[in-house]
């Protein structure tokens, strides 16, 4: 049967010699049936094949289908949805809107009844969490319970949809899909700033930007006629992907990866298709060909970018990026520039005055030696048991212990002004091992750090030069020590001769009658601390050694010097005199100030077309270095074509999504909304509407919603409202064992949704219940509590920024603003299944692990929220423990607590109160977690006991679940 194709109607129904694979209406005459029912070894698929054998039931279905005429249909999802009739149902009173008719019709067919509406408190909690990511306040709960009007619930929904919290909540899911993060990812994982894009998303949800505009602006906002700044910012969507700046990364390779990521994300988010499989080769059952995959890539390949990133701006962003308007900062920078210009003029006049002295200087320049003044130590100290002693010549000798690392601290005073350089000499000493200058057995000693402090502030050191250095020396590290790499300046093997290193500060020092310096010398090269050394300073204008290239020019006759040489020599000469230095230092200082101002101006990465389009090729087997045919931007042939007339670019692609003929966009979007509320979409594989994806549980409902969405003008809030006001959504999630057994995943929707809250909601809820939550919106990401050392353990290079915890209010912002480092994402989020944001995710998995229990019970953040919640319980909850605990449990669950629950909480509180009364120290320890101040008026033991009760409540399955 070579060449047989059952995936096309022609292939399946055309006679092949004496056989017909599938003969409509006649199963027994169909060769396919003969083969799949034949006895072994003729039976298909053969036993040795890895393909699964067909079950009897499956065979029966195929037979029945052939008997009924073998009707051939295209894949359901590739035919545009048409608004189906709303079905008639028996229990009409249950139906609140058409959603319910579709759901109920199916239930009635299955012989099932819907569950009753959940109690009002729980319903309010469910919808408040769903629409805002936060629990209702007691005031909201009481107002809702007291509202007798028939549309009390609808009013509550409208209130929630109008809340700015709504946009923040909806944004979380979009950030997963858009693989949004605050670092570039891959192994280096340096920081970046795309928060202007994130803020655009929050705002877009809040102002209910219709889904077509929401999408078009993100895909192609820059190409819209007269594109606004906001529309350009929106295009950051396709710049959120990872960028690999690993040193060896090849620009072409990662240019290809960037484009693949954009196509994959575009496909998954808007088309509900996992197009990535077509990257390497065609698949029989996948309608998208490899050629079409790269043709889609051609839409996204024309960005003026460097595949492996290229340079980063001060915010960590790679080109192309937008500078956002920042009028205040820009004005400040301009004012600084005026100051700079003024001082530069002064500098010019100084240089004019100095210029005539150059010839004189040249005569002595090569034999010039600075005058060094030895710094006699005023005091000496070293850690790790090392002893330091001053010798007659002002040098210092180390003795005593040999710890793996030690810092020698030398305090000195000097009356010298205009200090231009420090010098450290390594001096051999007969009393040291091998008569060397270091303390290692072979006489080696390595300076791993040279630091100068003046008045408690670190002096900026510019340059280090030496007369000699060992092969493994890393001079750069002496002035800027790396945290891990402990290397520096060593002189082995020439340890028995005297050597020097000269260190120049970036500005002249000294000036007061006596300047005090603290000089710190690092000895962290294990086993080789410095043995004997001496420190000096100089105010000489020129350094110890003239650079060889400058010396060369001086040696030449003036007439033989090139123009370039002349310029260089002049610049060298002018740079050193005191008079010049003084003015130049203020120029530098002003320039640094200006840079600091400019670096505060936010930027955000965007899409931007190149004037001349980059060629796109099919990549054979997906390999960047195996280009095949050149392709142009074309949409897949199994979908409607691009509208004619418009240039085939991103804008056309974005608009094409919203053509009435497009079968996927609306279905895919409403399916994701459905998933938000019910845990699973009507199509369970939200990322795959293709032939390998699952069929919809309620195809007519899906189509009805899709058509409705489009007809509403893609009104996002209206669609949310429609779903959450349905009777289907309002059902109780209590379930009988029988129903659970019949429908464990609730695909039939005979009950309400019940599943664990997403990571962000768990944290935000705890912050809200404890009144810690900050409602400040937008801006740069914040870094709330996380255990120490997480970034440090894994990261390196430019990605090796140490985690700096935010302060004050920023510790308690909503989780949508939490800093997301892709290679080490915040553990309190990932432990609850938040993704790493390295690639597009449209559906989070839900797990239940002991690590979650550990986090909720022990994380500093949750200990703090428990304490603040406890303060509220005592202050607001009532007079008696039982009243308070009832208040707290009601606040956390929005329902009336049962007596037996309060019995348990009360007994537990009492037990632990006794313990804390007996152990006040423990109470104080518990109350010290977190930065928020503690209410000192409350009794410590009592507050500690209530803190444990609050923690119990925050840990309840019900509290971290939407039910």
């Amino acid at each position: 049967m070579a060449g047989l194709r059952l995936d096309t109607e022609d292939g399946a129904k055309k006679p092949r010699g004496a056989h017909i694979p599938i003969k409509p209406g006649d199963a027994t005459a169909s060769e396919v049936i003969k083969r799949i029912t034949a006895p072994a070894p003729k039976r298909m698929p053969p036993a040795y094949s890895p393909k699964k054998a067909l079950s009897e039931k499956e065979i029966a279905v195929i037979k029945a289908w052939i008997e009924q005429g073998a009707r051939w249909q295209g894949h359901w999802a590739f035919t545009p949805p048409r608004r189906p009739e709303v079905p008639a149902v028996r229990n009409r009173t249950w139906v609140r809107n058409p959603i319910d008719a579709f759901v109920l019709a199916r239930l009635e067919r299955e012989g099932l009844a819907p569950s009753p509406e959940t109690d009002r408190g729980r319903l309010l909690r469910r919808v408040t969490l769903d629409l805002t990511g936060l629990p209702p306040t007691l005031a909201e709960l009481d107002a809702f319970l007291a509202d007798p009007s028939p549309d009390a619930y609808e009013k509550a929904v409208d209130r929630l949809l109008a809340s700015p919290r709504y946009g923040e909540r909806m944004t979380i899911d979009w950030l997963d899909a858009a693989r949004y993060a605050d670092t570039h990812g891959y192994q280096v994982d340096p920081g970046k700033e795309m928060w202007p894009w994130r803020d655009w998303v929050v705002s877009a949800f809040n102002r209910n930007l219709p889904f077509d505009r929401f999408s078009i602006e993100q895909i192609a906002g820059d190409l819209l006629p007269d594109a606004t700044l906001e529309q350009k910012i929106a295009t950051g969507f396709q710049r959120n992907h990872r960028i690999n700046s690993e040193t060896g990364a090849l620009a072409e390779e990662f240019q290809a990866e960037n484009v693949v990521d954009r196509v994959n994300t575009f496909g998954e988010v808007w088309l509900g298709l996992t197009v990535g499989c077509a990257r390497c080769h065609d698949h029989k059952y996948d309608p998208l060909t490899t050629r079409e995959f790269y043709s889609l890539g051609a839409f996204f390949n024309n960005v003026d970018e460097v595949g492996n990133g290229g340079p980063r701006d001060a915010r960590g962003n790679h080109r192309p990026y937008l500078r956002l308007p920042a009028p205040e900062l820009e004005a400040k920078a301009a004012a600084k520039q005026q100051e700079i210009d003024k001082v530069r003029k002064t500098l010019d006049s100084v240089d004019d005055r100095l210029a005539p002295g150059q010839r004189q200087w040249e005569k002595g320049a090569l034999s010039y030696r600075p005058r060094w003044t030895v710094l006699r130590p005023a005091s000496l100290s070293a850690d790790g048991g090392v002893t330091l002693a001053t010798l007659k010549d002002g040098s210092i000798r180390a003795g005593g212990a040999m710890p793996p690392s030690s810092i020698y601290e030398v305090k000195v005073k000097t009356a010298l002004r205009n200090i231009t350089a420090f010098r450290i000499e390594l001096i051999p000493d007969p009393s040291l091992p091998a008569g060397g200058s270091g303390r290692a057995a072979d006489g080696k000693g390595v300076v791993t750090m040279f630091q100068v402090n003046q008045d408690g502030r670190k002096v900026d050191l510019d340059r280090i030069t030496t007369d000699f250095q060992s092969e493994e020396s890393e001079l750069g590290l002496v002035l800027r020590p790396a945290e891990q790499l402990k290397r520096g300046w060593g002189v082995n093997p020439k340890v028995t001769s005297r050597h020097w290193a000269v260190i120049e500060p970036s500005r002249m020092l000294g000036g007061a009658a006596a300047t005090e310096f603290t000089i710190r010398i690092g000895n962290e090269y294990e086993g080789a601390p410095v043995g004997r050394f001496r420190l000096s300073v100089t105010d000489s204008e020129y350094p110890e050694v003239i650079p060889e290239e400058t010396a060369k020019i001086i040696r030449q006759a003036e007439s033989q010097r090139s123009e370039k040489d002349r310029k260089e020599l002049r610049a060298y000469y002018l740079a050193h005199p005191r008079e010049h230095r003084k003015v130049y230092e203020s120029v530098k200082a002003l320039e640094a100030e200006k840079r600091a101002i400019e670096n505060q101006i936010p930027t955000t990465m965007v899409m931007q077309e190149m004037a001349k389009a980059r060629d796109t090729f099919v990549l054979k087997r997906g390999q960047y270095d195996q280009p095949g045919d050149r392709v142009t931007p074309i949409v897949p042939s199994f979908l409607p074509p691009l509208p004619s007339g418009a240039p085939a670019n991103r804008l056309a692609l974005a608009r094409w999504l919203f053509e009435p003929a497009n079968p996927l966009t609306a279905r895919v979007a409403v399916n994701r909304y459905w998933q938000t509320y019910f845990g699973l979409g009507l199509v369970k594989t939200a990322e795959d509407f293709g032939s390998q994806g699952e069929l919809p549980s309620h195809p007519e409902l899906l189509d009805w919603l899709a058509v409705e969405f489009e007809a509403s003008g893609w009104d996002v809030k209206a669609m949310q409202r429609l779903i959450v006001t349905s009777a289907t959504y309002r059902q109780s999630s209590q379930v009988s064992p029988e129903l659970r057994q019949r429908d464990p995943e609730n695909r039939l929707l005979a009950r309400g949704p019940r599943f664990r809250l997403q990571a962000e909601m768990i944290r935000d809820q705890a912050l809200a219940l404890s009144n810690l939550l900050s409602l400040k919106m937008g801006g740069p990401a914040v870094k709330p509590y996380q255990p120490d050392g997480l970034w440090e353990q894994l990261s390196a290079f430019q990605g090796r920024k140490l985690f700096e915890r935010s302060k004050g209010e920023d510790l308690w912002r909503r989780s949508v603003y939490t800093y997301w480092k892709r290679t080490v994402p915040p553990p309190s989020m990932t432990v609850f299944d938040a993704p790493t944001r390295e690639f597009c995710i449209v559906h989070r998995t839900l797990s239940s692990t002991p690590l979650q229990a550990l986090a909720l019970l022990n994380d500093e953040m949750y200990v703090e929220t428990s304490r603040k919640f406890a303060e509220r319980i005592i202050r607001e909850g009532g007079a008696t423990p039982r009243e308070r605990l009832r208040w707290a449990l009601r606040l956390a669950t929005s329902r009336t607590p049962e007596k037996r629950e309060i019995d348990i909480l009360d007994a537990g509180l009492e037990r632990r109160l006794t313990k804390y009364r007996a152990n006040p120290a423990a109470a104080n320890q518990l109350l010290s977690a977190g930065e928020s101040p503690r209410d000192k008026q409350l009794d410590a033991a009592e507050l500690a006991a209530y803190t444990t009760a609050a923690s119990v409540i925050l840990n309840l399955d019900e509290v971290i679940t939407k039910q």
Binding site: S736, E838, S848, L854
Partner: protein, 479 residues
């Protein structure tokens, strides 16, 4: 839990297993069958056949050790010092962005002496005296090759079978397929150490032990040497164990009331997870406390082994985890990326790892555990014969080399005392028995009783597996 409630839960459990369930809650449901918190009891039908190994200790040397300075001697190259690498060897194959623009590709012979050891006469350099000492217990494969040329893609490839992020790692696949053997510890644990040869080296990322599209219960749990070994493990200051117990009792009772109302098995799972978290507060410190190890242990694993967080200390921990039924123990040792100064950076790396790696094999063997523990040692690719940067007989650097590298394996299912595969005169191309990364992974899974084509997970409409659509078992190295 009261017997009555237990009975009730059992009923729920039976009802549940009347029907196969996918997606949300699968892991939870599986964990009901056997009350194992992290990774259930594994898949039905797994292992597919009688396994030789029950667990894996994977000693990943991150950054890529130089095969020709450690395992793959090319003494004849000494004569070719600084000669240009012949085109017939390089064959125009791609190089990294770090050396692609180099004008010359001078041969840098290894400065280290090699000798043969054990019954197979396996070669080891003088930097690995302890590993040489276990040559009769290990199988050295000199003909591994990979497809990626930079760290992130290569380490992602060897751990997940794909260069692109998003697939489950080896450990996740194994704990998904085989489940957990312990009630008190995770099925899949990761430990990380920094190398002393190159202290600022290639970073690592949480994704490398991530579960990709598998439920996150299968992701590796990172153990740390500073602070809590497991994040959030210890009680907050001021919460004494009896207070914690009393809180957990309250949580359990209140959750049981909710279970009465909602009958959701997820609540049962939650109750179990809280109990497991409490047990972990005992089992993890007991596991990581090396104070009761006899002095002989530390002698065996070497002087570093007394310092928490070192590779040597992690090797002792790996053995203790294996004893306690942890299914997959993944070590990462950083610091092998020696683009310059190989003679300066390589010896300290070997000092870090040589003795402890060998000690681990001996230790497992003396406890009778080597038979059912599979140990793997190796990096993500090899290093180039040509020099990166300045070349002298005493100093040279080596760039990334995907076309051949060396990995050794030992224990359950692996033929001991074998040297397998060969490379050309430049340790550049493989001349004998090439083993692709997929082949190695297929072979390792085979040792665990897993048919690598059967360990699949359906995602985005496709059945994914560790070996993608590739992988042939290397029968020659199987016991």
């Amino acid at each position: 839990m009261t017997p009555l409630r237990e009975h009730r839960l059992m009923l729920t459990r039976r009802q549940l297993f009347g029907r196969a369930v996918n997606g949300v809650g699968t892991a939870a449901l599986a964990s009901l069958l056997a009350p194992r918190a992290f990774a259930s009891k594994g898949l039905t039908g797994f292992p597919n056949f009688k396994p030789k190994a029950k667990r894996v200790i994977y000693l990943h040397q991150s950054g890529a050790p130089s095969q020709m300075d450690l395992f793959d001697p090319k003494p004849q190259l000494t004569k070719r010092f600084a000669e240009e690498l012949p085109d017939s060897i390089r064959r125009g194959q791609r190089l990294t962005g770090m050396t692609a623009d180099q004008k010359k590709f001078p041969v840098a012979p290894s400065k280290y002496k090699f000798s043969q050891h054990g019954k197979a006469g396996t070669w080891f350099s003088e930097l690995l005296p302890h590993t040489a000492g276990i040559s009769d217990d290990i199988c050295v494969v000199k003909s591994l090759f990979t497809e990626a040329i930079n760290h992130d893609p290569a380490i992602t490839f060897i751990q997940t079978g794909s260069q692109v992020a998003g697939r489950p790692c080896f450990g996740s696949w194994v704990s998904y397929g085989l489940g957990c053997e312990t009630d008190d510890l995770p099925a899949f644990i990761v430990m990380i150490s920094r190398g002393t040869g190159r202290k600022v080296d290639q970073p690592l990322y949480d994704r490398l032990w991530g579960s990709g599209f598998l439920p996150s219960a299968y992701q590796g749990v990172k153990f740390r040497s500073g602070g809590d070994p497991v994040l959030y493990l210890s009680n907050p200051a001021g919460i004494q164990p009896d207070v914690k117990r009393s809180m957990l009792d309250d949580i359990r009772q209140l959750n049981e009331i909710n279970l009465d109302h909602f009958g959701d098995p997820e609540i049962v799972t939650r109750i179990r997870q809280y109990e497991m978290s409490y047990r972990m507060q005992t089992s993890v410190p007991e596991l990581t406390d090396l104070s009761k190890e006899p002095a002989s242990t530390f002698e065996m694993y070497g002087p570093d082994s007394r310092t928490p967080g070192t590779y040597a200390a992690n090797c002792i921990l790996a053995r203790r985890m294996a004893e306690r039924g942890v299914r997959f123990i993944q070590l990462y040792h950083m610091g092998w990326d020696h683009h310059e100064g190989v003679p300066r950076q390589l010896p300290p790396q070997c000092l870090d790892t040589d003795q402890p790696s060998a000690a681990l094999i001996k230790d497992l063997k003396q406890r009778g555990m080597l038979d059912d523990t599979l140990v793997v040692w190796g990096g993500e690719f090899g290093r180039t014969v040509y020099c990166q940067g300045n070349l002298s007989p005493e100093n040279y650097g080596r760039d990334h080399h995907p076309r051949c590298f060396t990995v050794w394996m030992a224990g359950g299912g692996v033929k001991p005392g074998v040297s397998y595969g060969a490379t050309d005169d430049y340790s550049y191309n493989i001349t004998e028995n090439p083993v692709h990364v997929h082949d190695m992974n297929a072979t390792l899974l085979h040792c665990l009783g897993i048919d690598h084509t059967k360990l699949t997970y359906r995602y985005q409409g496709r059945d994914f597996r560790l070996t993608d659509v590739h992988g042939s078992i290397v029968n020659d190295i199987l016991a």
